[in-house]
Amino acid sequence: MNRIEYLQELKYELKNLPVEEQEEALEYYRGYFEEAENDEEVIKEFGTPAELAKTITEKFASVPSVRKVEKNSSKDGSFGAFTNEEVRSLDISLGAAEIVMATGETFSVDYRGIEPGNVQYGLSPFGTFYIKNTLSVPDFSLLRHKDTADIRPRILIKIPADCELDLFKLHIGAGSFSAKTISIKTERSYIDVGAGNIVLNHVDGGAANIKCGMGNITYTGKVSGLVKVDCGMGNISMNLNGNPEEYSLFAHVGLGTVKFNDTKRSGLGNIECSEQKQNHFSVNVGMGNVTIKM
């Protein structure tokens, strides 16, 4: 690993910090590499980017994690209402509901068919608007809504039009998540689905990390920087804007298939590009399918 790769990984590992803190730390370590003039020695001293990131982020451990949490007062009301100035990141982690993301005035949440209190949300001191299940087994908690209820658990998340974020984190267990009419631009994104479905349109996900267990992910928009795609048994389909000349790809294929524009690989083997570019896909496929079209 050279210093460029190391710093790129480090940037990714620091994703949970506010952007100015990330920049500050990267600037310092960039300078450090230049002074030391021995990448190998420095990397040996620092450990992996993840280890270094842990050392850097640990000083934030004493900061309280929640600045304000809205109370779930009524069953059918809409909650939240944070503005684009307050919200720097989105962190959504939900189980088996039907979730729709649409454009609204502010960041807010509305839900039906779920016991009040089973969905928690709020704004962290770093400006992360989070929405999550409150029960201890996150991926299945929403399945426990009353059997007698005739309404299916539904969650509506609203975000402002053309919203710009530092980080967009989306984790869906077995539910379905659909965002067809929104438009998000983010520095980094982390998209993860267990057995559910995610449809995202008009997302500029920046340096994206996309993981799919048994589910499906359909993604339309843009990505840049180091993009990681990991697919177990599911399907990931990405329809992207951008010049394919500016992107490189490395794919490790198990029993599945990877398609990158006109390049295709089915079954055991690798797809390798001759040089790694600024925008780079790192793809890992088990038994699933990954299609990337630009």
Partner: protein
């Protein structure tokens, strides 16, 4: 070194190393100087510098060096007074330790 370095001793040493240069000094050099006397990892210094900076004990400025930007750390007035109180604490601490270990 066989004794553990607590975080306040590390803060004191870093402040002292930085204060020795009137024009300030940069991260790599600070790291090397601290590592000459204390057994700390290279990666541990940035969080210390950043913490001292955000609490107003150190300030930074950028200066060009060999065609690139180099970030300098400089001690503030508040940092100087903090360093003075560290020095006072250190004197009473080492006297007590010397007394018990060396019978001085």
């Amino acid at each position: 070194m066989m004794f553990n370095t607590g975080s306040s001793l590390l803060d004191a040493v870093v402040l002292s190393v930085v204060s020795a240069e009137t024009e300030g000094t940069y991260g790599y050099k600070i790291t090397q100087e601290v590592r000459d006397i204390l057994d700390v990892s290279e990666s541990a210094l940035y969080p210390v510098l950043r913490r001292l900076q955000t609490s107003g004990l150190l300030e930074t400025y950028d200066k060009e060096f060999n065609g690139r930007n180099r970030r300098y750390y400089k001690i503030t007035a508040q940092g100087m007074s903090e360093l003075d109180s560290y020095r006072g604490d250190w004197i009473s601490y080492y006297k007590k330790i010397n007394h018990i270990l060396l019978g001085e």
